[in-house]
Subunit: 429 residues, 2 copies
């Protein structure tokens, strides 16, 4: 008989151990990876906790983990050195004395000899200690095996912290062990990720919340907003027997609000969408960038196969380059300044001619921190786009400092390109 | 009277909040960054805990944090949406009702108008709620301010989770607040950061460890390696009464090993160093990029004031662009291929002529995933550099996938430019 309710996911507590994590010198990636790996298998993370190598705090953290988690997985502290204490602390906490496992002793011996050593170094023998009644999980990528322990109605797995070893043991030995321990667990949540751009989080939620509420509450439904400089990512989830239908209904309700802002690329990358829209029509892109200084080009060329639709661009940082390479008339620069509608239009036309491109985009703005005026403050950016569908120029003001203005301007440029080329925002002169 | 022992560092509890962290969709970097930032200031992290957006677990975690930490810092859950609950939970836990702060209301209004909205969206008003007696910490990079609360002999700071906002508030407002709260705390370790590039972690440690050991052990000394695609960052630390002298001695021992790989810019940014080297001589830079697709230009233009030394560049992704704009002879392209010494040399000469630049750099390589051959596999990149000191071209092979090859090639290009211009690696034809 399993002591777990087979109708809910198993609560999972992840404990990562190491002074180098606590001091911020290393960032733990095992915890997030494990969460992503086990969630679809019917485990739901309740807490991720990081503690150092000291014995007292480690003991406290482990007791607490065993109190909260149906399943506890630890990462780190299983190595051969004096600051590796997980094995001892677990043995003491659970009253299970460590016993030397002759199979591990033999594997250690073999491994060290293969590395050219005369035998197992004395401190490494520590790794052959197994708490009474624990099962060992073989380590295909290193020396310290994982340890699986059933304690009352709790289950605990101790794993080494080196990421390749951690992952290898999870995949080859831990997941089969979990299937045996929790044969009847509930299915994990189903979820869908929607990438949006061009709308502030608070504006989006102001529109989305009423839309999602319309028609009454949905059992087991949840959603979360994740803002970044590139836009807001939305994650819709549902749990329970009706999960797939509930998720469909959530997405149906959200659709009218999200449509204008949704990024139509699986990866959530606007650059990929822009390249696909051009590639489909055999149109080729050229760029003329001033304040974004190559960032739009870098985004497009980050996509594998971008050469199909992307010809190249000019980073026209100096005004002389705008004149010489893009043939922007000096009179326009003198009369309107480099950050102006007439200049970005001339830049787009110039680069389209030079490169023989169907689609041309130009950007010129005041990224700061210097160079702002009352009429053209830091954050003011002009764009022009020309394509067989027509030509347009516009101005946008971005908040933040230099990095943020440049990043937002890059994302905005790609967004407007995608919208214009997808036909959801008509291009007009 | 401060309730804290001035002879020991203040225990710090870091609580990061968000379903996206618990599910592993996002990796928390705020916690590690904060630990690295506050440790030298006399705070020592006891635990880093991640919980989701749910109210119950958040309430539990916060009570526990206040029990354990002299200082508690939270990240996340201060935004405008329904899953942002930190503010409410703290208000309830501490019995401090939320009060609307008219200053924040005014700032919100200003910020949303600046973004072209008619006023503050209703859900955003939530961000103006301040627990009774809390102090607000202005957010220079976003809308939600931080909140600082003194509760008995505990101190608590709530911060938004968006990394740029989190960091900006910590640096501009939280650290001064901590100095006022904990005026007599014990000094933290002294440390020095050395940015290196162009050497692998294992090779560096193989040379550095014996050098640091020479002359005997140093009490209170420690060092750590942090590898990334841009290079290895080294942190040397010392604690105790002799800390400054110990640190000096560590750096003296390390110097001969580090010199060839050290980045001579306080920020650790090679782009800044390159711009300074050119700016000092009134030399101006032009770039011709193929596989890096604008990334070198983006790095240079990220530095404020880069227009003093940077003219611009051509992203010559398509071979036609290499011919038309950079005047690379078709015969060279046909005979040697785009990824070759003769072609990068012609690209550098072409862009130098076009832009009237003293310093020209070109890059052409196979970034992958497609396009590799046995003779020119994925990761093979050619570079050429010309300046009044001379001209040189060379080939380098980088490991990894597309993103990694591009990032490494960009960093390598800047590194070799800096070395050549600084005279530490002679340019020769």
């Amino acid at each position: 008989v399993t002591p777990f309710d087979p109708n809910v996911p198993v609560p999972l507590f992840i404990l990562t151990i190491g002074d180098e994590l606590l001091s911020g010198e290393r960032v733990d990636l095992n915890g997030p990876w494990l969460a992503r790996t086990l969630e679809p298998l019917g485990f739901v993370v309740r807490e991720m906790l990081t503690v150092g190598d000291e014995e007292g705090p480690l003991m406290d953290a482990l007791s607490r983990a065993l109190l909260l988690g149906g399943l506890v997985v630890t990462s780190g502290g299983l190595g051969p050195t004096s600051d590796d204490r997980t094995r001892d602390v677990v043995a003491r906490l659970l009253g299970r004395p460590l016993q030397v496992d002759p199979d591990i002793v033999a594997q250690l011996e073999q491994r060290y000899r293969a590395r050219g050593l005369p035998g197992t170094p004395e401190p490494a023998l520590k790794m052959a200690g197994v708490p009474l009644g624990a099962e060992t999980l073989p380590n295909p990528r290193g020396v310290a095996p994982g340890l699986a322990i059933a304690e009352g109605n709790r289950r605990c797995v101790l794993l080494p912290g080196v990421p390749v070893e951690f992952k290898a043991i999870v995949e080859s030995a831990m997941i089969p062990r979990l299937d045996a321990w929790f044969p009847h667990r509930a299915p994990g949540p189903v979820s869908a990720l929607v990438h949006t751009t061009g709308i502030a989080e608070s504006v989006l939620s102001g529109q989305l919340e009423p839309a999602l509420a319309e028609g009454g509450g949905l059992a087991g439904a949840s959603w979360a907003y994740r803002p970044s400089l590139r836009g807001v990512e939305l994650r819709f989830s549902a749990v329970g027997g009706e999960a797939p239908a509930v998720l469909q209904e959530l997405l149906r309700r959200a659709e009218p609000v999200l449509a204008p802002y949704r990024i139509e690329a699986g990866s959530g990358d606007l650059a990929e969408w822009v390249l696909r829209l051009c590639g489909d029509r055999n149109w080729r892109i050229a760029l003329a960038e001033s304040c974004t200084g190559g960032m739009v080009a870098a985004r497009l060329t980050a996509v594998p196969g971008s050469s199909r639709a992307f010809l190249g661009g000019v980073v026209a940082y100096d005004n002389r380059v705008k004149q010489d390479l893009l043939e922007v008339p000096a009179t326009l620069l003198n009369q309107h300044g480099a950050v102006s509608g007439p200049v970005v239009e001339a830049m787009a036309q110039g680069v389209a001619r030079r490169f023989g491109a169907e689609v041309a985009l130009s950007v010129s703005g005041v990224a700061g921190p210097g160079g702002g005026t009352e009429a053209k403050p830091v954050g003011e950016v002009w764009f022009a786009l020309s394509s067989p569908l027509g030509g347009v120029s516009w101005r946008q003001r971005f908040p933040g400092e230099r990095d943020e203005v440049r990043e937002r301007a890059t994302q905005h440029a790609l967004h407007r390109m995608a919208q214009a080329l997808a036909g959801s925002s008509p291009i007009s002169g």
